[in-house]
């Protein structure tokens, strides 16, 4: 079985500083993976590379069965190829309603002409209702996203990602700023999503990672330091030295 996403030998430098150093990483089509690592380990840069925001100096990034190279594609094309990204801070369109936000994200042709001709079908409406209900925003469809609480915005963004129907989801610190109950719900959501697609979660919070109960990749200085279950990597001496040892 080949991997859905394969990153191999990728290196990126910013002004001489090697943010990513010969990084190799692969994820299967239906897998939940957590990436942890201290600040500056290259977690965000890794996401930037996969989503096309940053171009690596060397290495290759391929996606899907046809091993599509992502290095030459624009952000929009990568997104259309099936990679969704959730930022650390909730980024929803605050001047638009929850319904409009979800409509924007709904999988459909993305060209200006196609969007001009787009008409909402009953199916689309059902899908929007279902997604909103799934993240607990069923009653808030007509409210502007800007007045939602922080946690609700995070969920709206997750629902938008689902609406895109990506094959790979990159999620940056989904639990940041959430209450305990919200965290539990987010965990359930992510585990559930990972049954049908690949999910990569970048997280600082060890408790949250433990709840995800999945394979963990530890990044350090732009390279993979260790990989395996959380218990396995936390016993790794190198990991303890660079990450956990700092308390």
């Amino acid at each position: 079985m080949t991997a859905l996403l394969e990153v191999s030998g990728v290196t990126v430098s910013f002004d001489g500083f090697r943010a990513i150093n010969n990084l190799t990483f692969a994820i299967q089509a239906a897998e939940l993976r957590a990436i942890i690592g201290p600040n500056g380990a290259g977690k965000s840069t890794f996401m930037d590379i996969v989503t096309g925001k940053t171009r690596p100096d060397s290495g290759s990034v391929t996606f899907g069965e046809k091993s599509l190279s992502l290095l030459k594609l624009s952000e929009a094309k990568i997104a259309r190829a099936g990679i969704g990204r959730k930022f650390q801070r909730p980024t929803v369109f605050e001047d638009q309603t929850v319904h409009e936000n979800l409509t924007l994200a709904l999988k459909a042709a993305r060209s200006p002409w196609a969007v001009l001709a787009w008409r909402k079908t009953a199916q689309d409406e059902d899908r929007i209702q279902a997604l909103a209900a799934q993240v607990g925003l069923g009653d808030s469809l007509d409210r502007k996203a800007g007045i939602l609480s922080h946690g609700q915005k995070q969920w709206l963004e997750i629902a938008m990602l689902l609406a895109q129907e990506p094959r790979l989801l990159l999620v940056d610190e989904p639990a940041a700023g959430m209450t305990l109950a919200e965290r539990e719900k987010t965990t359930e959501l992510l585990v559930d999503i990972a049954r049908t697609r690949a999910v990569v979660v970048v997280e600082h919070d060890m408790e949250f990672v433990r709840r995800l109960n999945c394979k963990v990749t530890v990044l350090h200085e732009g390279a993979v330091l260790a990989e395996g279950s959380l218990d396995h990597v936390t016993k790794n001496q190198a990991v303890i030295d660079v990450y956990l040892g700092r308390g």
Partner: protein, 405 residues
């Protein structure tokens, strides 16, 4: 009835108001209550409202502060002006050659036209860009094609390089200035600083200017109505949602899979074409067009109108353009009495610009919703309480006070 949904209410009210206004002016003109020149002023104002609609789409909805759209407006005017001037001159030349007794040859006619039109800049040949001026359909096609292509090429270069915010505004100012300077040259082929004149005389039409001014008034009103309904349909649908999203946070839109540059280019070109059509209706009413019409200040006025009317709402742009441009022609018409202050006299022809500038600053500072905000107040629509935070990270994003709760 989908048309009766609340979100379509503003469009219905607008069309009703426009219809009532058009009928009222027509009746008043019929009974001689308004002068022909005033009908022309009103018709021209409607064209400016149309340009403001386009400005609102690109700035208010897509967040791109283009300060060059009046260049497209003027180009549209030039394109229709070429046909008007050519065809009108042809009539005169043919008539005068007939007096000579013998029927004129096509060469004599075209030579006569060229001398008539270009004698003023010391040339006697028709430049190549006048090749299609003999044909109304071809020249009408150029009204759309020339500004459209210019916008397409300019926009492609600018957006592809991801030029945004104030840099893009400066670039568009440079574009309109460069175009104006080019047209000022006598060998630009459009009569240099003389521009094109006599555009109010329609070739082959013997009706009086009273009638012609009304025709153009109706055409302008119809164009405004059609454009308003079309743009309303566009902005209230998913397309509008996409461009508002681009205004507030374009990086996020990219990660949703939309080609932000493609959308910007689409909107830029569409609005350029709307401006060009507005210009093609405006200049036959104005009667004359010259390169001064492409001055950078003209496009800045356009932005000021939309800001005063309230950006991000179509009726706001129309109201802003109508009120400010009518006030402007009233103040600069020299009929407003000066105010003697003893030590100085406020002469409104000079001081109008100061007043306009102050109004603009005050609107920006104290009433960012502009005149459109008054309607929100009547309708009880509040602004969200965001502790001063704008609705997105981008330069053009909606500010807290501009938003509706």
């Amino acid at each position: 009835m989908t048309l009766l949904q609340p979100r379509h209410r503003s469009a219905l009210i607008f069309i009703a108001c426009l219809a009532v206004f058009t009928i009222a002016v027509t009746i008043a003109a019929h009974f001689g209550l308004v002068s022909t020149s005033f009908v022309k002023t009103l018709g021209k104002t409607l064209c400016l409202c149309l340009a403001a609609l386009a400005m609102d789409l690109i700035w208010g909805y897509a967040g791109i502060l283009s300060l060059g759209h009046m260049a497209f407006f003027a180009l549209g005017g030039y394109m229709i002006g070429m046909w008007l001037m050519y065809a009108r001159t042809e009539e005169i030349v043919v008539a005068s050659l007939l007096n000579g007794g013998l029927p004129a040859t096509p060469e004599e006619i075209s030579q006569g036209i060229a001398t008539q039109i270009f004698g003023v800049v010391g040339a006697s040949d028709l430049p190549a860009i006048w090749s299609f001026a003999y044909s109304l359909p071809l020249q009408l096609a150029l009204v759309v094609a020339v500004p459209g292509l210019l916008a397409l090429v300019f926009g492609w270069l600018a957006f592809r390089s991801r030029v945004t915010g104030v840099y893009l505004s400066i670039l568009t100012q440079a574009m309109t200035l460069a175009l104006a300077l080019y047209l000022f040259q006598n060998d630009s082929g459009l009569r240099g600083n003389n521009g094109l004149s006599g555009l109010q005389n329609l070739p082959g039409v013997t009706a009086s200017q009273d009638a012609v001014s009304l025709w153009f008034f109706w055409a302008s009103a119809a164009a405004l109505a059609v454009a308003y309904l079309t743009l309303h349909a566009i902005v209230s649908g998913k397309f509008g949602s996409v461009i508002r999203a681009i205004r507030d946070d374009e990086a996020r839109v990219r990660f949703l899979g939309y080609s932000v540059e493609g959308y910007k280019l689409f909107v830029f070109t569409l609005t350029a074409v709307i401006c060009a059509l507005a210009g093609a209706l405006y200049y036959p009413q104005a009667g004359i067009i010259n390169p001064a019409e492409l001055a950078p200040i003209a496009s800045i006025y356009l932005a000021v109108w939309v800001a005063i009317g309230g950006r991000g709402r179509l009726y706001g742009a129309v109201i802003g353009a109508a009120i400010v441009s009518l006030l402007s022609s009233w103040f600069t018409g020299g009929r407003v009495p000066s105010i003697p202050l003893g030590f100085a006299t406020i002469n409104w022809v000079d001081w109008w610009l100061v007043l306009l500038g102050l109004t603009f600053v005050c609107v920006t500072l104290f009433a960012p919703k502009g005149i459109g905000g008054l309607f929100d107040r009547f309708a009880g629509v509040l602004t969200p309480d965001r502790k001063g935070a704008p609705l997105g990270p981008d330069d053009g994003s909606l500010m807290e006070q501009e938003a509706q709760k």
